[in-house]
């Protein structure tokens, strides 16, 4: 769930926390994609991180702080059934396929179906065709991929982890969309609709002003 903590200072500023799952078959370059984004490295011997399964990134978008947690998932067919355990409570999903591999695109379609079934329209979907540096060997046509993405309410991106193309845009765009979704949810909560459910999902809106006066010893016991 999106978690909002109040910022520091007198004016209320929020900090969003988003969980994004990374789905894709074995060799589509999921790991390279996130390592390129979080460490700006590709097939590098000097990669400092011990692992590329769970990575975080701090962003500042239009003055709002965003904490992004990227959850890699095991893409092998034998682990397919475990998907729902991974993507529970996620705000976004990045579905990666290899533009030279038709099969990997079919896998993406399966995941999209499952995600929509489990999480409905609350999750922001990104379909990503990776390895556009191998354009000559392309097996998934741009029209087909973009047409499919549009039909399921997802956005389509073309990236190359090797050439560092399209990756920043992908994540920035996704964050903006997740923020919009979270803000829409806030407004819903503001209207009093499903207040308790929202709180349970981890969405908290903190409004300091009215309660600060009534808090026990709020003004004197801490700096």
């Amino acid at each position: 769930g999106a978690r909002l903590g109040g910022g520091s200072g007198c004016c209320v500023s929020f900090c969003y926390s988003f969980k994004v799952v990374l789905l894709g078959e074995g060799c589509v370059g999921k790991t390279s994609l996130v390592l390129r984004y979080c460490e700006n490295k590709f097939n590098d011997k000097h990669i400092t991180t011990l692992q590329a399964s769970f990575l975080t990134k701090k962003l500042n978008i239009t003055g709002k702080r965003v904490n992004l947690a990227i959850w890699d998932t095991a893409g092998q067919e034998r682990f397919h059934a475990l998907g729902p355990i991974y993507y529970r409570d996620s705000n976004g999903a990045i579905l990666v396929y290899d533009v030279t591999d038709e099969d990997s695109f079919q896998k993406v379609k399966n995941w999209v179906k499952e995600l929509r079934k489990m999480l409905g329209n609350e999750i922001c979907l990104c379909i990503v065709g990776n390895k556009i540096d191998l354009e000559k060997e392309r097996h998934v046509s741009v029209e087909e991929a973009e047409g499919y993405a549009e039909s399921v309410g997802a956005k389509h991106y073309h990236t190359s982890a090797k050439l560092n193309k399209g990756i920043e845009e992908l994540f920035l765009d996704l964050c903006k969309r997740m923020m919009e979704t979270a803000q829409a949810e806030e407004r819903m909560k503001g209207n009093g609709a499903s207040q308790f459910g929202a709180a349970r999902r981890g969405v908290q809106i903190v409004d300091d002003e009215p309660q600060a006066a009534t808090a026990a010893g709020g003004c004197c016991s801490s700096g």
């Binding site: 692992q51 904490n67 409570d89 309660q211 016991s221």
Partner: protein, 498 residues
């Protein structure tokens, strides 16, 4: 019983058999060398002392609690705004009136072993904890309570308030023992939510400070509630534990190759990390606080990542990590795995479980368990017949594979054996080197002796060649001066009278 060996000796002096108190009766090793009568007296005295100590501690704790409660009552009751701040906890208000009497009884209850064990005895006789275990855990609980009080002292007024709320909450939970596990979880989660909301208001939104306090609150509350809410009898957690345990045992034949685990256990650092990972995931069961259990899973995962990194020389992706974690769980067969997962899910502070790194590893563990439960021939790339055979124990896969991949099967030799050969080689090498050192030392010694001898001989030779000539003693300086007599006599002083 350990004293038995002493008595096995042939010679036993008569006096050794007598009671150590010297009362004249025979003593018994099981009673520390005392006779039955003296032992009973001794034991009673020790027990009495123990009980007194317990009471002293209980009273001390109670006094602290009362002081805190008194101070917070003083602080909060006269000012009406605080009452509104207390609103989320208003359901506990009515209990405030008889707070004092209840407090005494709870503390008493806490230290009397009989009331502790009875609820367990009723349903599960085998689970009655041994006195030493309950004693140990109560020490741990005391320590955590004390730490919590110490921590809250730094928060002054707010700390007293938090302490009160936690205590009231724990007491209210005691009356809810019959509720289902999900309802208990709901209560605890509501409490976390209310508490963190209030703290967020208090700290003006500094979520790091809220997290810090909430960690302490979780630690205190869950240490106190652990016994009653871990693997409660209202659930079938225990049954699931046994099922999972048997399942893992039945899958003992699953190899690293079948799971496509990217580990090379021939590398000592890898096998070392594997052992550490296994130890960590087993250790999870011994922790009481959900967050501590999570920390064990995280530590286990870090060792796995290290093993993968050493083998593959690149950072591990989920494609590598999950199969390895499954392999580790199969190897470790951690005790009460399902109970622990359920306990963490129900009672961990959700902010950690949802998005944090710990949450990611926990989710992977849940995936690993789910995979193991549903594992079939297809998920190991085996034919259904082979799978059946292996499961029933009719065939063992390692032997079949050994034949087919014999030429390049260095990886099939058990890593322990490889390690042993390696060690043996090392030992032989060390032996040789030691022999060399010894030979060298002996040579040096001989050389030294030789040298000493040669020096002695040289000295001797020189002494013989140049014998010491002793000259006659020297005469007085002017003895040879014959002119002396011719010198005028020395002047003598003259006295003038005047």
């Amino acid at each position: 019983m350990s004293q038995r060996s002493e008595r096995r000796g042939i010679h036993v002096d008569q006096s050794e058999l007598l009671c150590k108190k010297g009362c004249g009766y025979y003593g018994n090793a099981a009673w520390q060398g005392l006779c039955s009568k003296c032992w009973r007296e001794e034991y009673q005295r020790a027990r009495q002392k123990q009980i007194q100590e317990d009471w002293a501690l209980a009273e001390k704790l109670q006094r602290e609690e009362e002081e805190a409660a008194y101070a917070s009552n003083q602080g909060t009751q006269p000012t009406p705004p605080n009452q509104s701040a207390l609103a989320p906890f208003s359901k506990f208000e009515e209990k405030k009136t008889n707070e004092k009497t209840r407090k005494v009884t709870t503390v008493k209850k806490f230290f009397s072993p009989s009331s502790r064990t009875t609820p367990k005895k009723e349903s599960h006789e085998s689970k009655t904890p041994s006195p030493s275990i309950s004693r140990q855990s109560s020490i741990e609980t005391d320590r955590v309570s004390r730490d919590f009080v110490d921590f809250l002292k730094s928060l002054q007024k707010l700390g007293r308030e938090i302490h009160k709320q936690c205590r009231v909450f724990i007491e209210s939970m005691a009356s809810k023992k019959d509720l289902s596990a999900d309802e208990l979880s709901e209560y605890v989660q509501d409490f976390y939510q209310n508490m963190s909301d209030r703290l967020l208001t208090h700290f003006k939104g500094s979520s790091e400070r809220v997290e810090c306090v909430m960690d302490q609150v979780e630690k205190y509350i869950m240490t106190r509630l652990y016994k009653s809410v871990f693997c409660p009898e209202t659930t079938d957690d225990e049954k699931k534990d046994l099922a999972t345990q048997n399942r893992i045992r039945a899958l003992h034949w699953v190899t690293i190759q079948m799971l496509c685990v990217p580990l090379d256990e021939d590398i000592p650092e890898v096998s070392d990390s594997v052992v550490k990972a296994i130890t960590d995931v087993i250790e999870m069961d011994s922790k009481r606080v959900p967050r501590d259990k999570l920390a064990c899973i995280t530590s286990c995962s870090k060792h796995i990542f290290n093993a993968i990194r050493v083998t593959k020389r690149e950072p591990a992706s989920a494609d590598d990590f999950l199969p390895t974690l499954i392999y580790i769980v199969l190897k470790a067969n951690p005790p009460r795995l399902q109970s622990n997962i359920q306990y963490i899910t129900r009672f961990c502070n959700p902010s950690r479980l949802m998005t944090g790194e710990d949450g990611y590893y926990f989710t992977n563990l849940c995936c690993a368990v789910a995979f193991i439960e549903k594992l079939d021939a297809q998920s190991l790339n085996l034919s259904p017949e082979d799978f059946e055979h292996y499961m029933s124990g009719l065939a063992s896969p390692s032997r079949v594979e050994e034949k087919s991949t014999w030429p390049q099967s260095s990886s099939l030799v058990s890593p322990g054996l490889t390690q042993m050969y390696h060690n043996l080689e090392l030992l032989t090498g060390l032996g040789e080197r030691q022999q060399q050192v010894l030979d060298g030392a002996r040579g040096l010694q001989a050389e030294m002796e030789e040298w000493q001898e040669s020096v002695k001989q040289q000295v001797h030779g020189i002494v013989e060649r140049y014998p010491l000539e002793v000259r006659p003693p020297a005469l007085p300086i002017d003895s040879e001066n014959t002119e002396n007599d011719r010198l005028p006599p020395p002047l003598t002083p003259q006295v003038f009278a005047g």
